[in-house]
Symmetry: C2
Subunit: 410 residues, 2 copies
C-alpha cells in the first residue's frame, strides 16, 4: 500500500477536542495505508509567540524568531502523537530537523533544499507507526533552525510526499476543496473535482487562499497528487494534478477575487528608458511584492505608472515613493486601498480565444469600471473598485454558468 | 578572562519585564567576561504543557512528553536572545541538541552522558556573542529529544561549566543563597558564604530546595565552583566548592527541614530473612523513592517496618502495600502524612562527636517526640510530628547559635 501524507492546519488542531478528532481520522487511514502526518501550530499559537517577541524586542533577530516559532509545531506533533497513542495505535513525532529538512538560511522564509532523512521515516513506518512531522520548519546545514514562512506546512507536506514517493498528499483545511468561486459570495459555487497544477498556481497567485503557491510549485515539479479536503467531513475534496489528455480542460475553472491589494500611482514621471526599472528596483529592495503594472503616457515626455501591491506594505512603500517622486521629479503619487482584483482562470483558455472580451462585457453590462487589466495564457484579471467586487464575482459566475457541471457560458 | 556560566530559573524569566531584567544582568557580566546563559522555561509553562497533555492522554508516552516539554526552554532562550539584542549586544540561542548534550534514553529523567559540541559554544563566544543554552534538555544518540527531570536546568548549567572549563557557575534563584535555616521560619537565619559539595549534597537530600542534588554531584565530580545567588539583587550569594584546608569546617552549617514526606508502617510482618528485601523491592518496582527506614521487633517472630516516602506517591504506594500485607500475612499498615524531617548538617561533625545527643536533648527539652532517627558522617536527621516542625527548627537554630558568624553552640 502506498504512503499517504496528510497535512492538518492550525484550526484543525486548535484545542484538545480537535486534536482527538484528527487522531481518529489519522488512525482510520493508518489501518489501511502507512501514514505520515504534517501539522501546523495549534490555532493562534504562532500569533501569540510573535506578540510575546514584539514586547521584548520590536525588531527581533530573524534567527531567534525562527527558534521561537518552531516551538509551535513541536507542541502540535507531540500532542497529536499522544492522542494517537490514546487510541491504541503507535505514533512517533519528529521535528523538521529530525527528518532532515534542510533549508537555505533565509530565516523566517527559508526554502527547502533537500530532505536527507527519509530513511528514518520509512523505518518508523515499517514498524507500523504513524509518523508525525512538524510542518513549517527545517534547519540549515549549520544546524540552525529555520521556518518556511506562512503556509509553509503545505510545502513541508508536499515536499515530504515527493521525498517519500507517497501515493498522494492530502491537505486538510476548513473548506471542502477548491471552488468555482468563494461560496460566501456565490452560494451556488461548485466544488471542483480536479484542477491542474497550472490552474492552481494561477488561482493562488490570483488570491485563492486554499493552497500556498510554493507547495503547488513543489507538487508540479515532483508530480505529487495533492488532495485538498475538509478536516470536518468525509467529502472527497479537490485533486490537484497534472493536466493530461484524460482530464477535461474547462475553459473557465473559477472566479477568484482578492481584496488584499491596493493600487499605487506615480504621476508624471519622465517617459524615458530606465525609469520603470528604477522605480521597481527601489520597491524590490524594500522587499515589496508588486503584482500588476500599467504604464501610460499622460502628457508629452511624462507618464503615469500604476501598480498593485499588498495593503499591508503601504507604510514601507510610502518611504520609497516619497524618495522616488523627489528623485524622478514626478508630480507626486496616490495610494488607493479601495480596489479589488477579479480573475477568471481556466486551462481551456489557451485554445478558446474571447474569454477576456466576454469578461469585459459582463463587467460593463453591470456598470463596473475596469481600472487595470492583466492576462496570462490561462488567466484574465481585472482591477475594479472594492465596493463592486461581490457583484462582479456573482455576475461572472452566473454568466459563465460555472455552477453547472460542464460550464457552457462560452 | 574566564567563562562565566549563569543559570536563571523559571521565575526569573516569568514575563517580558523579568526577561529584560535578566538580559541587563547578563549584558553587564558580558562586558567583562564571556558569558554562557542557561535558562528554564517561562514561569508556569511546563505545568501548562503537562496539563494540556493530560487532557489528551492521561498516560502520555514519555518520549512525546519530552518532545512537548522541551519547547518550554526553547521559547525562553529565543526570547532572552531577543532581549539581549535589544540592548545592542549580540546573542545566540542554542537548544540542548545543538550544543551536543547527549543523554541516555530515560525519557523525562534522562542523565547527561557527554557534551559533544562545546566547540560551537567556544566559537560563538569568540565572536563576542552571549551564548544562551536551553536547560533541562538533551538528545539521545538516536537524535530523540530528552528532558532531565525537574531541576534539570541546574544540571545543564553545571555540566556545561565543566565541559567549557568555566571559571564558575552562577545559579540565580529567588533567594539570596544557602541559609542556616529557612528564613521564613527563623528570621535570624544567616546566609552561608560557602558550603562544601558534601554538605550541599546532604542538605539537598535533607530537603533543601535551593540546588538539585544531581547538579551538586556533577559539580563535585568535575570541581565546578557553584555560586548560588539571587536574580533580584547583587548580593554575593553562597559558594559551593571543595572543602579544603583553608575552608573553615563548621561543626553545624545548617538546620534543614522537609515536610514533603510521610511515614508508612507495616505492622507485624514475619521477622525472618528476606522480608525487608521483599518489601523494598516491591516499592522500588513501583518507582517509589524510600528515604529513612526503621525496623523493630514488636512481638515474638513479628516485626514492624516503618519508612518515609514522598506524600505525592501515597496513591501508588497503597496498591503495593495492600498486596504486601496480604502476601506477608502482616497486621495491616498505616500511612501518616503528618510528619516532618529535621536535619542538622555540618562537615565538622566528622571530628566532633556528640552532635546527635545534643540534638535529641534540644528536642526533648522542647517536648518534641522523635519518631525515627537516621545519621550520616555529616548529618543527623529526626522524624517528628509535622505540627512541631517550626518550633524544632527554631529551637535547634537557637541552641546551636547558627545565627552567629562562628557558631559556638557545642
Amino acid at each position: 500500500m502506498g504512503i499517504i501524507v496528510q497535512k492538518y492546519g492550525g484550526s484543525s488542531v486548535a484545542n484538545a477536542e480537535r486534536i482527538k478528532n484528527v487522531a481518529r481520522r489519522v488512525a482510520e487511514t493508518a489501518s489501511e495505508n502507512p501514514v505520515v502526518v504534517v501539522v501546523s501550530a495549534l490555532g493562534d499559537t504562532t500569533d501569540e509567540l510573535v506578540e510575546l517577541a514584539r514586547q521584548i524586542n520590536p525588531q527581533p533577530p530573524e534567527r531567534e524568531m525562527d527558534m521561537l516559532l518552531a516551538t509551535g509545531e513541536q507542541i502540535s506533533i507531540a500532542l497529536l502523537a499522544m492522542a494517537i497513542h490514546a487510541l491504541g495505535r503507535e505514533a512517533i513525532s519528529l521535528t523538521g530537523k529530525q527528518v532532515g529538512i534542510v533549508t537555505d538560511d533565509a530565516h523566517t522564509k527559508a526554502k527547502i533544499v533537500e530532505i536527507t532523512n527519509c530513511d528514518r521515516v520509512h523505518e518508523e513506518l515499517s514498524r507500523g507507526r504513524v509518523v508525525i512531522v512538524a510542518g513549517f520548519q527545517g534547519a540549515t546545514c549549520d544546524d540552525d533552525i529555520t521556518t518556511l514562512g506562512r503556509g509553509g506546512s503545505d510545502t513541508t507536506a508536499v515536499a515530504l510526499a515527493a521525498g517519500l514517493g507517497a501515493e498522494r498528499c492530502e491537505i486538510y483545511t476548513d473548506v471542502d476543496g477548491v471552488f468555482t468561486a468563494d461560496p460566501r459570495i456565490v452560494p451556488e459555487a461548485r466544488k471542483l473535482d480536479r484542477v491542474s497544477y497550472d490552474e492552481m498556481l494561477e488561482m493562488a497567485a490570483a488570491g485563492a487562499k486554499v493552497l500556498q503557491m510554493r507547495s503547488v510549485e513543489f507538487g508540479r515539479n515532483y508530480k505529487v497528487v495533492i488532495n485538498v479536503r475538509s478536516s470536518f467531513n468525509d467529502n472527497a475534496g479537490t485533486e490537484v494534478k497534472e493536466a493530461d489528455e484524460y482530464m477535461e480542460q474547462p475553459i473557465i475553472s473559477g472566479v477568484i477575487h482578492d481584496v488584499s491589494e491596493g493600487k499605487v500611482t506615480l504621476f508624471g514621471v519622465p517617459d524615458k528608458p530606465g525609469v520603470a526599472a528604477r522605480v521597481f528596483a527601489a520597491l524590490a529592495e524594500a522587499n515589496i511584492n508588486i503584482d500588476m503594472i500599467v504604464q501610460n503616457v499622460s502628457s508629452e515626455e511624462r507618464s503615469d505608472i500604476s501598480f498593485t501591491m499588498p495593503k499591508d506594505d503601504f507604510a514601507k512603500a510610502e518611504t520609497v515613493l516619497r524618495e522616488l517622486a523627489d528623485e524622478l521629479g514626478g508630480r507626486g503619487y496616490n495610494i488607493d486601498p479601495d480596489i479589488a482584483k477579479v480573475s477568471l482562470i481556466g486551462a481551456g483558455m489557451k485554445t478558446h480565444p474571447g474569454v477576456a472580451a466576454a469578461m469585459f462585457s459582463v463587467l460593463a453590462e453591470n456598470g463596473i469600471n475596469i481600472e487595470m487589466i492583466s492576462t496570462s495564457p490561462i488567466r484574465v484579471s481585472c482591477v475594479i473598485g472594492e465596493a463592486d467586487v461581490d457583484r462582479a464575482v456573482r455576475a461572472l459566475h452566473d454568466e459563465f454558468k460555472l455552477g453547472e457541471e460542464v460550464p457552457s457560458g462560452l
